[in-house]
Symmetry: C2
Subunit: 645 residues, 2 copies
């Protein structure tokens, strides 16, 4: 399996131009820059281009891209003689274009025409005729069952027709969306002879209950961004002996309008992530998360990585090492005061940078002084998050292999060589090994000035970091954290907030040591968005939130007020102990529960432009993030914000 190496031999990577935004020229440049070997040319992209097919062919060659497919040719088969002749005439014109482009495979979709009849023999015979015409031009026909085809709407039926058509230039195109939207676990695909499988299109999708055509045209995603079992599907296809390209074909409303260069990188990352998840049975070793022998603490990621196309396995993560906030002078006082009242100690000062270390338990916050902005509340935002890895160097190599931009390092002579990469929203992600004796012991960069746990409020560790993602990059960000850090998505929520719908997706490791919650709006906001547009927060775990709240209040800490109406509703809705509700009401603690357990949480006020803190207590195996209460929090933050102005 070498498709993870764009310039290697073997299986090629390809992307349909329809996946990307822009003119044909924009798309081709983006595909090449992200390292794709080839493209599918979507007909409408060519039609709108002033470049002749020959010029497009030359541009592709110059960019190092092969043209793997011309698509789509529609509504050909199962018709009367007159329509057959018209269809063949139309095809010849398209063969002309393909010859000029320099491509030799044409996609033919199963018909949706009202003029077609339900006759597989006729369809097979007519496709055979088409293949015969195509073969005279050196062209092959890849026949694909649309999930909404008028008669042929399953891969099995399309394969039966191709088999009956029985022509060397007639083969099958499999599109994972069309297959898996109809049949989540298709069996039998592995039985298709690989040489009759002319083309493979890969797309993921969320599980939606809607018209399949609309689902396909608007909501497809890149592999591992949706709910389809693509690893099994791809393994079955590879088992046929298929040797064509792995080609992405994703119709997505957001990708259609997003920067094509970002989207192409996201697409390539998705293919590498899918590759890793496939059991290649002899072609490549499966890269499960590297198991770490307890005795040595070393990762086996690099060992399996070589076999899996140089993608190092994800090293085991043991927790959040630190979260870094950029704060300007105005907001620094508020943030420091909030940390102090929450029981954090100002434990150290960086040797060469204006960075403070605050700590309680293993929860660490760095405050990095930045320039003031225009924001009335002062700048305060999450600039970096750091995870503890058993093999930070391997984690960094993996990130780089997954196209994460490596950030330049600036460090003093005796300082730790911390690796970091940029997440899609620009947040720096650091790989650390806190407490290690070697050069990644980042804590030694700090001159310790206080004691670690003096006067704490019972906060033990960082529970999660919540980041609001730019609208266009939500799915990209989810895949980034999942693949780069080796996490799994485990929680998706959608809820109505005061200023519009929100969505939330959390990714975490198996043990819940590292949790990252990504939020975004369901629609991009416009002029009316009076709330805090892109809030971020760090949540710290307590084993007794009421004690923590009490201790925080004693230090003069301000907890975000929760309306009485909230508790009245809680009392009506749930059969909770009246005393418990009274305690929650007294401490402004919010509540949620799921099938595994309960969740108590409280918030601070907004500290500057976009950051606040949360204290959480998970009881039992509660897996969520209290998003049911987010609208209450957002309304309250808006009020404080208005009051402060």
């Amino acid at each position: 399996m070498t498709h993870a190496h764009p310039h290697g031999g073997g299986m090629r990577t390809s992307i349909a131009t329809v996946c990307l935004s822009g003119t044909l020229e924009d798309k081709l440049e983006a595909a090449a820059a992200a390292g794709f070997d080839g493209v599918e040319i979507f007909e409408n992209d060519l039609i709108a281009s002033p470049a002749s097919p020959e010029e497009v062919g030359r541009l592709c060659a110059d960019l190092g891209l092969s043209i793997e497919l011309y698509q789509p040719f529609r509504d050909f088969e199962g018709v009367d003689e007159d329509r057959l002749h018209a269809g063949l005439r139309r095809a010849e014109r398209k063969f002309d274009v393909m010859e000029r482009l320099g491509t030799s495979t044409m996609l033919v979709c199963s018909t949706v025409s009202p003029h077609a009849v339900d006759d597989d023999e006729l369809a097979a015979a007519q496709l055979r005729t088409l293949a015969e015409h195509a073969s005279r031009r050196g062209i092959r026909i890849a026949y694909e069952a649309l999930a909404w085809g008028r008669y042929v709407d399953t891969w099995a039926r399309s394969w039966d027709i191709v088999r009956r058509g029985d022509h060397p230039a007639l083969g099958l195109c499999l599109d994972s969306f069309h297959v898996l939207s109809r049949e989540p676990s298709p069996s039998g695909i592995a039985g298709i002879p690989g040489e009759k499988l002319f083309f493979l299109q890969l797309a993921d999708a969320p599980q939606l209950s809607m018209d399949v055509l609309q689902w396909s045209r608007h909501h497809r995603l890149f592999p591992r961004q949706g709910a389809f079992d693509l690893p099994t599907f791809l393994r079955d296809v590879l088992d046929t002996g298929y040797s064509g390209p792995l080609s992405l074909e994703v119709f997505n409303d957001v990708f259609r309008q997003s920067d094509p260069n970002r989207t192409a990188v996201d697409a390539m990352r998705s293919l590498r992530t899918l590759d890793e998840a496939v059991d290649h049975r002899g072609r490549a070793v499966a890269t499960e998360r590297a198991a770490v022998p307890a005795t040595t603490g070393a990762t086996t990621g690099t060992a399996t990585g070589a076999a899996a196309g140089s993608l190092p396995g994800a090293a085991e993560l043991t927790g959040h090492a630190f979260t870094e906030l950029g704060v300007d002078a105005r907001s620094a006082a508020r943030v420091e005061r909030a940390l102090a009242t929450m029981g954090f100690a100002h434990r150290g000062q960086h040797r060469s940078k204006p960075v403070q270390l605050w700590q309680q338990g293993t929860a660490r916050v760095l405050l990095n002084t930045v320039d003031a902005g225009d924001e009335p509340g002062g700048v305060a935002e999450i600039r970096a998050l750091a995870v503890d890895s058993l093999d930070p160097a391997s984690s960094a190599r993996r990130a780089e292999a997954l196209l994460a931009p490596v950030l330049p390092r600036t460090r003093g002579p005796a300082e730790a060589d911390l690796s970091s990469v940029a997440a899609p929203d620009g947040t720096a992600v650091f790989f650390c090994r806190t407490g290690a004796e070697d050069d990644v012991g980042w804590l030694s960069d700090f001159i310790l000035t206080g004691t670690e746990t003096a006067g704490g409020t019972g906060l033990a560790r960082t529970d999660h970091v919540a980041l609001t993602q730019p609208f266009d990059w939500f799915d990209e960000a989810g895949l980034f954290y999942r693949s780069v850090l080796g996490l799994e998505p485990h929680h998706d929520a959608e809820y109505a907030a005061p200023f519009g719908l929100m969505r939330s997706r959390a990714v975490t490791d198996v043990d819940g040591d590292v949790r990252i919650a990504l939020n975004s709006t369901l629609l991009r906001r416009g002029e009316w968005a009076p709330g805090v547009p892109d809030p971020q927060h760090i949540a710290f775990a307590s084993d007794d939130i009421f004690a923590s709240a009490q201790a925080m209040r004693e230090r003069g800490g301000e907890i975000l007020p929760v309306p009485d109406n909230y508790y009245d509703d809680l009392e009506a809705r749930l059969e909770l102990d009246a005393d418990l509700i009274a305690r929650m009401r007294a401490c402004d603690v919010l509540y949620d529960q799921d099938e595994h357990g309960a969740f108590f949480h409280l918030y601070t006020e907004m500290l500057g432009s976009r950051v606040f803190f949360e204290i959480v207590q998970r009881v039992g195996g509660y897996a969520g993030y209290g998003s049911v209460n987010a609208p209450v929090r957002m309304a309250a933050h808006r009020r404080s914000r208005l009051a402060r102005r």
Copy 2:
């Protein structure tokens, strides 16, 4: 029927707080400002509010709003004894809240609980018990069938259960979405006794093929913005003798995040428009478009208007009077040159303002000199559109009654008293009567300097004006033009453009004399939107587009180049005469066809920041706007734009 008069007696207008964006306080203020009589309080809005129920009640009273309904109460009926008791306990708590709010009707949705059983007798008995509890508190229960209720999912079944429950405090809530999404033409509603119909919720929706819950929660629209036959539905409900409020309950992703003040006005306009469309059978006279006796040319709009709640009927429109462009000095030269090469004559100059009149046939363009902006191409945009009405004064009164903001008039002593209102995007809409002898003869404001038709290129009239709408206001704009001008939507399209999906909706009068095409993106664009973000254009009709194109070229006119690939595809796709395609290719004319006829069109280059012109020829009854070709046009405009920089 007085609900069109917010402060009159009789039927009240109401809106659910869930329709509007913001905090509860934002929503209440917006509803009051738009003239609603009352509100439904959506529970989650109250829960997130720091105001006590008493304070919310007082705020409503101060704003002149009654609280018509508290909602929703869920998953009550059809359960075992333990759950029944828990449900009653929960209800009592909510009755407490309602008492404190000062409202007496509670909405109970049919259950979706996995714990409920399929037993209508049991459900009826338990709802009777609930009603008995409620009646002791002076509260009534309005039971509603959710379209996705576990067992009760039709209005007929909910009515049967209410009938069986047989309690004075138990009645029915009808929601037009739940009814019409299941049964587009429900019969039998008129047979419900009016006194058992406790509440009426109105919502429209586009016809979508998707999960009904998702359809309901994301895609509802205000009446007359969607595809439901609400006039018939409302007439049937009013025939029962229903005397409660007409209350809007619309869950819509866009409205949830839009300025609540705009949305509330849009909502009120929708109710007035719906009212007009209802045959009130004795309560009010139907206001069909005012028929105009050919002999007098007068409208009867004012006559029927009195009976229909002071909403004057829409006066007949006879065409586009003019379209006004704001142009700065830089772009003026380009626009003037384009008009000249298209055969327009600079016919006159305004007596008191820096406005030129250009004319050909009845197509008139005003060029109004405005200040220069930052745009490299210079400012050029549509500032106003004017329609010819047989009764401009009545048209203006109708617009005002439909809450269109009336624009201030500035005119010289001898100038015409032109009425105008602002459309949602700020475009001024003028009501004229071109050629009339009275004071609305706006043409007399111009000193004529040229001849009307000298050297034309065969352009006879304005075919349509196309305006790109701000994302949040697309549905509002469609309803505005439809209701204010008395037009009908007749064409909806969605297409993939180079920089994202677009949608288009055209409204026109019966004869096609006035056509307005509204465009918007399907998702709001973000940072990556390299095309012209909000293009606008004026399309002029020709009876021989090839002659017009030829004449235009002879004058040195620049037609937007169309790629050869476009014609190659046309040739492959359609059985058109080769000579016709050759002529199109030579003249850069684009082509479309529908079941009624054919469409030929060409475009100019972009003239300044966002305006271009189009020449169209409709053959037969072609009803569209060539939106299939819009992506080709957009890619070409982007290229010229890049080339010019």
